[in-house]
């Protein structure tokens, strides 16, 4: 494998900066390198350690991120969903995700990850948007009533990191996820979270 792995992850947006979900680390623009922050034992010499949870984690599936955000006790308004590219030593954890030695943010999303739709195929809430239609729905249609302060903070942090800020709906419609190397089945999952039904989804 020569291309970086791309996965979904969460941050907490505090003070205009993206903080790690699980540990005390503030993401820097560009490349970020993992280091082991072991408690009560010696830290791994290199991260991701083989018998450790250290490393920059991401998951393959966007609903897995939503579930983490949904079950988090902290303020959901500060949760941010995005894509990262990982490289260097990468520990793959089956179909769940990976822990990388190096990572950089590729894209941030406007959606509040904890309140993304948990819709099922056939829901009357679905929109219909066949692939090939270049007219993406607008962000306001995607997230009505979004907090303007949150949007301002997201725009500022996306600019700081030099990455695009889009809604999930727009990212699916524009083909951005495909360009970033997300497999089709996970693009379909993202579309469903954003309330879209893509061609190939069968009604039940």
């Amino acid at each position: 494998m020569t291309e970086p792995v791309v996965g979904w992850r969460l941050w907490r947006l505090r003070g205009g900066r993206l903080h790690s979900w699980a540990v005390d680390y503030c993401w820097e623009p560009g490349e970020n390198r993992a280091r082991c922050i072991a408690h009560g034992r010696s830290a791994c010499i290199t991260s991701p350690g083989q018998y450790c949870q250290c490393g920059i984690w991401a998951v393959w599936s966007p609903p897995a991120c939503r579930e983490r955000a949904r079950t988090a006790a902290a303020d959901r308004s500060e949760h941010v969903l995005g894509l990262i590219a990982g490289w260097g030593t990468v520990a793959v954890h089956g179909r769940e995700g990976f822990r990388a030695e190096w990572a950089a943010i590729r894209c941030l999303f406007t959606n509040c990850p904890g309140i993304l739709a948990a819709r099922t195929i056939g829901s009357s809430l679905f929109g219909w948007w066949p692939r090939g239609n270049e007219q993406a729905p607008t962000d306001s249609a995607d997230e009505p009533g979004i907090d303007p302060q949150r949007m301002d903070a997201l725009h500022a942090v996306a600019a700081r990191h030099g990455v695009p800020l889009v809604s999930l709906r727009k990212a699916v419609g524009m083909g951005l996820l495909g360009e970033m190397g997300i497999p089709r089945r996970h693009i379909a999952e993202a579309g469903r979270l954003a309330g879209l039904m893509l061609e190939g989804d069968s009604l039940v």
């Binding site: 020569t2 291309e3 979900w21 590219a85 260097g88 990468v90 954890h93």
Partner: protein
Amino acid sequence: MGLTTPETERIEIPRPEPLELPAQEPAEEPVPNEPVPVGGSATAR
């Protein structure tokens, strides 16, 4: 919070190439206009 599935594979991925901005086409040398003889035509006779 981490990953709950055990590690299944360990791979080495090279550092990605930094994104490059599209190179600009070099400007062509301006071609001077041919002088037109006064009182005549530029067409070769």
